[in-house]
Symmetry: C2
């Protein structure tokens, strides 16, 4: 482990975090509320901590893959801790546990809140809250890569973090360097801008448009309203947000290829076909259920509310336009299932992701066929027209199974720390681990995470981080081999 | 597919089923209730249907592996259908759907009942109900093998069915022939006899002792009392039943080896160590929870009730001595988790089974180690001191993942057919698929399956069969390759 280089990178992260407070500071000046001083103090503290680290460990040492994993975990924690300072100074979230929870929930694109009254928080702090999504959506560390000297092993750092580009499918387009990273960031910013314009054109206040777009493209889910997107009660907004949640769930590399005119990339993309297939199936099924069971009396409303909630949970966004716990049980079951699905790899989403299901299903089909019918066959899987490496198959299988184990073990931990029934406990872990936000029962759409005990909040924070880093970065730290020379 | 041979085997199964009605008939004569005629008619119908099949398709054709799969599925269905006749004639279960559900629940060792008042059923029919456990526990088809001529490919038939000996671990001791099968049956019958004697010595009525033992060693769970084992409220009975549920969860091949004096087999058995480890962990944890939370005021009661319920659900038996839905949420969560664990392969239990977890955990550890730390390593797993075949690893992974998929998809089906919330729906599928019996919520220990719709009952029946046949026999029928020449 190269702790000097690690400290250097942490320094960069803190400076970036501090500087990014300039936008909420501007917002605070504009709205003239009582959050200017807390933000200024926090800016001073954060950059003040970052600059010495940055300068003191300036040597151009290379980062190894292990350092990358370490930074991925520690970096997110440190940045979340410093980001929590404004809320604590201001007093809108006095407890450090709560403020840290709110911030890591933002950076990990979870969007699970402990705020009982979001609308009471001043605009500068609300903007800061939503801006964590903007920074976290692309993977916070990718920002650091842009500011890192070339020799610092940016790719290794990048690989340790789940984000648009942790491209499991070995695409020929690999995010090799800073330029690619910058390109993906432009696409990301571009999508945000388009959505902001479309929402503002529809009549949403600019402040709300900004915060909502930050929460949509990054598939995160903090809203500035207590009733989430349902507060606007506007079909146009709903459909715009559905569209951009869907786009946020696409592989950004694929978007880049399409923008370059490579439409063939669309045709051969296996994951995209499955993603569309899942969406059609789940949206169609829930619309039928909501319509035939009379939850909504006309089919267009059933389509609007059903599609919104399916896309919101499938892409792990977590926005809401209705209290789905009042829907028929079969509709709720569909929502419970899509929480396990997730969107495409290389998107801003978290969760299990479609590509893993593609690999798992193909692997199972091939294995059962081999064992029962063609013992001499060799199992070889193809994705996007290319053969998949065995390691990728192993990783997909492990990823799915570890997710299931963590949900079950995590549920037990939550029943121990908090007085929740087993299905609420499981749901809270799913909401955190898949970076979704709302769940069912005690953490359902009409509740929040405020009632959870401090230990429970720290445990769920850890789950969010594990989920955002796609398990392995966060889990390999616990392997003895990790700490061997 | 060799339909003549298949019909011949079905004929044998029906004759065995018919003849096995002699015990309940004897019971009925003893108790002088109104169930003698229904049992006699059923005996006549069942053997009357079996004998012509047996004689007409007498040719000594070999059974192929596909025929084995086919018989495994169709055989259990046909036997359950004929076994349902006594209840329909007698009128204690007038509906065919209900009677079939009760019977396949018995044969698959599930023990999920639709009877609202078990104690109202006459003794002959109650005995018949419990006797399905005795026949199903060892795998019903193994009985047929004993009666099959040598040339009929008994092993292939045997392989298609989950039962003591579907020995995934490639033990050197393989159930090659009739003699082995007879040996395992003797161990099984022996365990039943010892338990009957021990229960009767403790003061349980002989009829109850017989039925309870049938439900214990086969890890099935039909009791003759409405309150299950809790009706006796006797610590001695509880501990005897815990012991025999535990023994029913052991590999019968292992028991055979130990009886022959091969204690080394115990030492090298990886699955046994994990099985004991799981039991110690879960029983210890639940005892602590029940004691510290004050559910039971002295630790011996906490140990007794906690251990009973953990062993009951972990071995997929499903007996109850307490309404665990009144226990602390953390205790319920532990019970929910053990439903996914199961006992040893080659035992009378169903469910996911410990050996699969051993393989999955070793595989995941080796894969992550290889991918992240030792890219050149070859993943090679050892079980009981021997290397595991790659196909076995694939099968274990597929088995676990398909179970999870079936629980989620099945839960959706149940919310569609029945008005249950999503956690009750999931729980009903787990209870059926893992052959456990009781679950949580609407199918909790203080409820039964009577309220479920007919479609729901057929769907759960299918899940019981799929679970009992360890998925693959029941699922490969749906592969196109299965039906190719
Ligand atoms: K989210
Ligand atoms: K059972």
């Amino acid at each position: 482990m190269n702790f000097a280089s690690i400290a250097h990178v942490i320094g960069i992260l803190l400076i970036v975090t501090g500087c990014s407070m300039s936008l909420p500071i501007a917002c605070s000046i504009l709205y003239q509320e009582n959050d200017l001083l807390p933000l200024l103090y926090s800016f001073a503290i954060t950059t003040g901590a970052g600059i010495p680290l940055f300068i003191a460990f300036r040597k151009n040492n290379d980062l190894q893959i292990k350092d990358g994993f370490f930074i991925a975990v520690v970096g997110w924690v440190v940045v979340s801790a410093f980001s929590a300072i404004p809320y604590m100074i201001h007093g809108s979230i006095p407890s450090f546990t709560d403020a840290f929870f709110e911030m890591i929930s933002g950076y990990t694109t979870t969007g699970a809140t402990i705020l009982n009254d979001i609308e009471a928080v001043p605009h500068g702090l609300l903007f800061w809250r939503s801006q964590t999504h903007l920074l976290g959506g692309m993977g916070f560390l990718t920002l650091a890569i842009i500011f890192l000297p070339h020799g610092m092993g940016g790719l290794r750092l990048f690989r340790a973090e789940s984000s648009p580009g942790q491209v499991i499918t070995k695409d020929k387009f690999k995010p090799r360097n800073r330029d690619t990273m910058v390109m993906l960031w432009w696409i990301y910013i571009g999508l945000n801008c388009i959505q902001i314009i479309l929402l503002a054109l529809g009549g949403m206040p600019l402040f709300d448009s900004l915060c909502t777009a930050f929460g949509t493209v990054s598939t995160s889910g903090y809203s500035t309203r207590n009733a989430s997107i349902g507060a606007y009660n506007n079909a146009y907004f709903d459909w715009i947000i559905i569209l951009f949640m869907f786009l946020g769930g696409l592989s950004f590399v694929l978007i880049y290829q399409v923008l370059r005119g490579d439409t063939n990339a669309l045709k051969i993309n296996t994951e995209l076909r499955w993603y569309l297939g899942f969406l059609f199936f789940f949206c169609g099924a829930i619309t039928l259920i909501l319509w035939t069971k009379g939850t909504y009396h006309n089919i267009s409303d059933a389509l609007r509310y059903g599609t919104f909630q399916i896309v919101s949970l499938l892409t792990t966004t977590g926005f809401g336009t209705a209290d789905y716990e009042l829907w028929p049980h079969s509709a709720q079951m569909l929502l419970f299932v899509v929480c396990f699905v997730g969107a495409c790899a290389g998107s801003t989403t978290s969760g299990i992701k479609v590509v893993h299901y593609v690999i798992i299903c193909k692997y199972m089909y091939a294995s059962i066929r081999k064992i029962f019918f063609q013992p001499m066959a060799v199992v070889s899987l193809r994705l996007n027209g290319r053969t998949i490496d065995d390691d990728i198959i192993s990783l997909a299988l492990c990823y799915f199974i570890i997710n299931i184990f963590m949900v079950l073990v995590g549920g037990f931990v939550m029943t121990l720390t908090d007085n929740m029934n087993y299905s609420s406990a499981i749901s809270s872990v799913i909401a955190a681990l898949m970076n979704i936000g709302p769940g069912f029962g005690a953490v359902g759409p009409s509740h929040n995470f405020a009632f959870i005990s401090d230990i429970g909040k720290w445990f769920l924070s850890w789950n969010m981080l594990v989920g955002r880093l796609e398990m392995f970065s966060a889990l390999v730290l616990f392997f003895p081999s990790f700490w061997e020379k």
